[in-house]
Amino acid sequence: MMITQAQLEPLLARVQKPGRYVGGEWNATHKDWNTAAVRAVLAYPDLYEIGMSNLGLALLYDVVNAQPRMLAERVFCPASDMVSQMQDAGIPLYSLESRRSIDEYDVFGVSLQYELTYTNLLTMLDLANIPLLAADRREGHPLVIAGGSGSLNPEPLADFIDAFVVGEGEEVLVELLKRIAAGKQHGLERRGLLDSLASIEGVYIPSLYQPRYEGDVQMALEALNPAAPAVIRKRIVPTLPPVPTAPIVPTIEVIHDRAAIEISRGCSRGCRFCQAGMIYRPIRERSADEVLQAVEALIANTGHQEFALVSLSSSDHSHIQTLVETIMLRHPNLALSLPSLRIDSFSVGLAQALSRGRKTGFTFAPEAGSQRLRDVINKGVGEADLMRTAEAVFSQGWHKIKLYFMLGLPTETDEDVREIGRLVTELLAMGRRIAGVRTEINITASTFVPKPHTPFQWEPLIDREVLEERQALLRQSLPKRNIKFSWSDWDATWLEALFSRGDRRMRRVILRAWQLGARYDAWQEHFQPDLWHQAAQDCGVDADAFNHRRRGFEEHLPWEHIDVGVSRRFLQREYARSLTGELSRDCREECHSCGILAAYASELDQARGQMSAERPWGCP
């Protein structure tokens, strides 16, 4: 069913930001429906403005549409006003490109980036008239396929998803769609098709497994079918795929209203709390020439004036300063931002280069206030680095910086928290001396959530009382003026922690909470923690015990069947080193045998060939 403009117009007149629901953006791809052998709708389970700011979605849209007989369109989660308008008018969830009802696609591919968007997925499936539980779907329903960092602990969503793509999607999504196209052509039934998808490397079909519990602990995940591999290894691409140089240019304002270029993937620093640093290994860098060409192409194809050089640690790129200098020289009116900067690789030269253009903000993440705790988490940044960096920024004309800290890290004491206050006080004094009285420091203190596939995956979540005392303590120790302080809400942290390491029993909690009315949990104004507490209770899940329990090394973890290439031995070793505050150096300088090279030997060979380099990755 196609939704017509006449059907939509009365709804659009009654909702906020109707531009979210109409498509028609520059560079949107409209492929011929009838000649496509397989049709996918790429879904992002949040509002248009958030989803359109996601680089991964833009990449996959580009990759699929570049295939001759494949079609990819987009859909986002409508806001609550639009959801009720659509329900009242009997209009199902539809795609932005061809405005077709979502249940007409072969694949509903959803990107999982943040735990608190999980109920949005249910809202979308419901609005699309697709049964919420995979087991209830029949022939003709789209295959619900999930990817993104959420698929690295897929269990909380296992019963809602037909297939997970584990790891980087650029290659495997195309393989998957080819297989689905072939299956369609041969009239393969849903079950048979899903069984056949299990043989694609990096694809996890949750219905082929069954968990076994003892008491409150999941003991194992057992394969029900010989077709199901015991371990699903994440997929990686040997070298970075080409930059999508003609991305969709949103007509309405989105969160990141800019052209983004991924300059590298992976991070060599090995911060022990950081999931991204572990799961996006190995490090692959894009050459300066390729980045510069992409800038020219993007300006010509999009007209963007705001650019971001995106990476887990932009200032670690081998040629970052040359890159920034060259771009600013060629395009002085560009606003260039480097969203994640390392304190110790940020230089005066880089600050100088950036100061020539339109000034965007600076965010640095010391994470912890004391050297002791920074060593525990392997941040590897000294206080002198931070002072030097702040000096460079203030002396190049900026008077505002943002600093990001975490509370609740393993081994944290009150003293560590007071140290944040002392550090910020000194930075502010320096700023006022150099940049003047307008100096302002924004402090964000998020709460540490133990994440799967990190050295801290066995750690408990901090107790609410202790955390709230420390938040209050931090507030007291910060200077009273020229400071903006924000911190994370406990309930959101609690829920994120629950899903992060959750097992399959969480499925019932998610479904129950959604039935009780939980919606848009990532949005503070919509988030109703009481519903989640009730849902957990209704399902007999002791969420507090789950979150605050320390896992044993011998324990079977719910994500044990997902292999990200980083070995358990390495994680345990890093955990042990954290307790003694022992640093592990940048892995571009010294290999810590995390396991990635052994796991991806053939990809390494391919990368060597493609780049004609002995060491195509960041590994030494």
Binding site: E9, G23, G24, W26, V249, T251, I252, N333, K359
Partner: protein, 223 residues
């Protein structure tokens, strides 16, 4: 790069379809990007955040379509109108139609400053018969004042829209829709929205679609 403007051009364009759900601010960005894609040598302002100078007239409400939007742009290098129009048209997204591009003197007043009135065509559904609608229009036009309530900061204030209605007429039917047209005065001190006029007619209107058909300037001062 800040640069002195050497030429000022006035673009007249139309808005339809998906693009009509774009706010005024967003339309500014849509145009900036379009102009950059088309390689138009925009003159940039001086200052901390240099930006190109663009001037629109009479913001089009979100959801309205139009045939007669105005945009003035300032260029750092001279360009011929005809090839520029072709370049803009090539980069225009769905729903955007470039009608004309013509040069105006650098020092002419802003397109909004001398604006006199705005004309609209309104499509709507109504349970009223066409003679009832015509009668309502005649009543409104015959009144000396037509007071509506406007809510500002939570307070309802009376407002007389009658002096701003320069013309209002019933055109006929298009399918199930009734079609009306109006010309509404535009002053910097006050203006009236077509929906407010429809409200005053009390037509119990639904599925309203409003299309801007013309802008009228003070002929003496425009160029």
């Amino acid at each position: 790069m800040s640069s002195q403007p050497l030429q000022r051009l006035r673009v007249i364009y139309g808005v339809a379809g998906a693009l009509s759900y774009t706010s005024v601010l967003e339309m500014g960005r849509v145009w900036e990007r379009l102009l950059r894609r088309a390689g138009v040598p925009l003159a940039y302002s001086q200052g901390f955040n240099p930006h190109p100078r663009l001037q629109f007239a009479a913001a089009l409400a979100t959801g309205y379509t139009s045939d007669c939007e105005v945009l003035d742009i300032w260029l750092a290098e001279r360009r011929e109108s005809a090839p520029l129009l072709a370049a803009l048209a090539a980069e225009a997204l769905d729903g955007l139609t470039i009608h004309t591009v013509e040069e105006v003197p650098l020092d002419s007043p802003s397109p909004q400053a001398t604006l006199q009135s705005l004309s609209y065509r309104m499509h709507l559904r109504s349970p009223r018969r066409h003679d009832e609608i015509t009668a309502a229009i005649e009543r409104l036009l015959a009144s000396d004042e037509v007071i509506i309530e406007r809510v500002r900061k939570g307070l309802a204030k009376p407002f007389d829209l009658r002096p701003l209605v320069l013309a209002l007429g019933y055109i006929g039917r298009s399918g199930e829709d009734h079609v009306l047209t109006c010309e509404l005065a535009f002053h910097t001190s006050g203006s009236v929205r077509p929906e407010e006029v429809l409200g005053a007619l009390d037509l119990d209107a639904s599925a309203v679609h409003i299309h801007r058909t013309a802008l009228r300037w003070d002929a003496k001062e425009t160029k």
